[in-house]
Symmetry: C2
Subunit: 131 residues, 2 copies
DNA sequence: TAGAAAACAATAATGATTACTAATTTTACT
DNA sequence: AGTAAAATTAGTAATCATTATTGTTTTCTA
């Protein structure tokens, strides 16, 4: 066995599972520190990377310059609010056919894709209208 | 008029137009410096940002931690090779219908989307097979 | 329970990008 | 053309997210 148990990793994973948003490493760090005060930020990063390499969580790069993490590894797409920056799960039909569309005139091999949508989330939409 | 002419900005734009790949700020800097030796990296960054804000170029965030820039602002999608890191234009059918698919069960406003495909480019595909 | 392997905390280093500042360029108006 | 205000620049410092390093502690296997 190459991967040893670690209390820190368990706490990180457990915390991430409680969240429906998609926290950054720093937010994970700040929260986990409340139950595990002397955990190190490096440990958070290392374990988030480990967990995503094992496929237990997903690392999201939504183009805001910070990595987000998601305990839900089932295939789904994300929305990023241009106003508040929140990352939200989209409940939408499967769009895997865009992979086939991309393969049509392409000479290499396409393994997958990443798609995210942007605009204003429900909250920010209401705030802007009323102002 | 708020935006003044600048020789540096013109050179940057002109250089970007000659490239079919999608150079990073650093690559733009290294190349532009050959015709404009004392240009500053900060100037390159500032003008790339300005140009993309004016809609003259596009800033691409393909999840490799570095911004790429594209003089082609027409809507099209990109492929990122997991092996060599190259960013390649995809000649594929329009997939804007994924925007409608995303809007269906969403309460906010969706302005757009960004879709990236990844895998092995033609070059790297051949190299791996022959080894 | 001993000893090797992995993980840790703390901290330093890296790499991309942005911010600052004093000097230079551009532009609008004489 | 001359000039003054505003934008831009080069050079450099600062920031921010992330990764690497190191000496110590934990985990696991025999």
């Amino acid at each position: 066995m190459a991967l040893k148990y670690s209390r820190q990793r368990e706490v990180i994973k457990t915390f991430l599972c409680t969240r429906k948003d998609h926290p950054t490493a720093d937010i994970v760090y700040m929260n986990v520190r409340q139950q595990y005060p002397n955990i190190s930020l490096g440990t958070v990063y290392r374990n988030l990377t480990l967990l995503s390499e094992m496929g237990e969580i997903t690392r999201l790069r939504v183009g805001d310059g910070v990595d987000h993490f998601d305990a839900d590894t089932s295939p789904h797409n994300h929305f990023v609010c241009s106003e508040c920056g929140n990352v939200i799960d989209l409940k939408m039909e499967n769009i895997d056919y865009i992979k086939e569309a991309a393969e049509k005139n392409f000479s290499g091999r396409i393994d997958g894709y990443s798609a995210y949508f942007y605009g204003l989330c429900g909250n920010c939409c209401g705030k802007l209208q009323s102002s």
